[in-house]
Symmetry: C2
Subunit: 389 residues, 2 copies
Amino acid sequence: MSPLRYRLLQRLRDDGPVSRAELAARLDVPRSRLAAELDTLTDDGLVREAGLAASRGGRRSPLIELDPGLRLAAVDLGATSLDVEITNGSLETVAAYSEQVDIGEGPRVLLRRVNDLLAKARADGAYDRLLSIGIGIPGPVSFRDGVPISPPIMPGWDHFPLRELLGRDHSCPVAVDNDVNIMAIGERHGGVARSVDTVLFVKIGTGIGCGIHIDGAMFRGPDGCAGDIGHIQVDPDGWPCSCGNTGCLEAHFGGAALTRDALAAARDHSSPALAARLAEHGTVTPLDVAEGAAAGDLACIALIRDGGNRLGVVLAGLVSFINPSMIVIGGGLAGLGHVLLAEIRSVVYRRSLPMATGNLPVVLSELGPRAGVIGAAVLASDLAYGQPL
Amino acid sequence: MSPLRYRLLQRLRDDGPVSRAELAARLDVPRSRLAAELDTLTDDGLVREAGLAASRGGRRSPLIELDPGLRLAAVDLGATSLDVEITNGSLETVAAYSEQVDIGEGPRVLLRRVNDLLAKARADGAYDRLLSIGIGIPGPVSFRDGVPISPPIMPGWDHFPLRELLGRDHSCPVAVDNDVNIMAIGERHGGVARSVDTVLFVKIGTGIGCGIHIDGAMFRGPDGCAGDIGHIQVDPDGWPCSCGNTGCLEAHFGGAALTRDALAAARDHSSPALAARLAEHGTVTPLDVAEGAAAGDLACIALIRDGGNRLGVVLAGLVSFINPSMIVIGGGLAGLGHVLLAEIRSVVYRRSLPMATGNLPVVLSELGPRAGVIGAAVLASDLAYGQPL
């Protein structure tokens, strides 16, 4: 059982203002114990009394709420984009900023850009003091140590002391996680996976990764690198992968693989839609494949179906292994939409045990590009409110 | 945090007799609270005082121990064997029985045979009254409901009310789980995985299954069928599988697949050792392959290596996904030994992230054929001692 402090603050965050009586009932604690905890939290400036609850016949009870002045920072640093939001203690957005970045510029430059946006938010009056910061980055992270670990697309970031430096700059605790995990946390907090305890969130971007919730908690694995499904083998005789092995899922599907295959289909004219796009723009993108498929180009449809099939086989294996209650597909390539989803579903349902898939929804992310920043805010608040880690 | 009652009984089970002072310290509870709980447990007949602890200078403190009269039943029902043990509350064997069975005889016959062995144990004086029963069966189980669910090799068992009938016959609570899970529980309690929190236990028998511990707890999945890795696809153009799909792991490795391949190698004389065995005995078994390999027969070595490779690829994917701290290989075919283990290790280490495998032991089961019955006893005691499920 988590400590009362965390459960109480989490309740106020997610349910809004509530009377003492109601709060004691929901948390299942004696009112005297609740009163003592609320005194401490009031002294700490985290909660306050706010007006009176609607009467239910007896004496009206004062409402308890999170102090409206609480401020959290949520940062979603991607390979090419930086999103920063300032929220109140209930995770409502107070200010939001987005910029294009290039993760290849290295950690010092990007840390400065994060700090510049946070300074701008402060100058705009979004906050005076931050309770905590949650940040997601596009590579493997040691969650325990708050540092990136050999991130393949982030040169110069290996073991960069991100948590320590951000914490020092803003005098508050910081949680660092990978981009897929914060999206998974966001989707489970406020998206399609709300209240689902065991769920796989699959991000299809340039690469492919998976965020795992087990029994209601984010599962990162003993070494913090659980969910790295992009390097599961799908074909022993397949494409070489950037990791040095062959036939990895990521070498066959995902933004990079799809761009490679789309270019080939454009060059050999097996796809009239992609050939036209190549002639016009000098290049083709996964978005072109999606548009080609929507317009009925058979080669584009085949590319998406083949990718969905590859991913579906991997997910079918994970369904047999972990028996989740839901699979959520997110990330940029979730935009490939229902052709992709139909293929994934078809493979998962065909290849997994009936017992595991009898009631298994495979659905698209609801929060789309905002999943990450919402998850980072959840992470920040969990840290500030004292979630046991 | 688990209830004090369970933590206390579990301590006494695993650590043996201990003084009140020591117990209070280990459980981190005030002595007054401990005393009240011990009074209740003494009244319930579960614990008692037993002699005095060795003096450490002051007054000698009485030792607390589980009542030595407690009795649990552990049942491991396999496809061809039935093992029953009666243990005391500390899981020490009081009596043990084994019989050959045929799971195809159906649930009524096999339930009677379980009851016959339990009646024999009672007649032998092994128990008067059972606190609880733990039983493992060779097929998928709804742990929550205590019934088999569409078990492929157990005709007539689907939804057979095993827990209810056994409980009624012996007037005690019963826990029903699958054979792989009880082996995993046994190995983590008293075998090579002791004190490891996130472990995969892989059973290679006729088929292949996996028992999963996550963060110290058995993970069965929302529908109770987690760990069914035998039907993960290893080759889209592979062998047809009994499940109706093609290219499942089990269709390529495991007792059934190895027997098929060994027979082929004997018939086409690609394996002199197997050909000789076939001529002599009229059939070949996985044991013959193990012996052929040990004697240097190249085709036998190749069969084991190929199987280890198939399993290794699947395990590498699961390592990337769940990032366990240990993999344990058990079941009858673990007897294929170090050729098998070397191949599995080679593939897992080559194909998984360095971060995930930097410190990942892949080892053989220590408990061998006793893993199941030990796990069933653990399960029985957890149930009797009030583990939160």
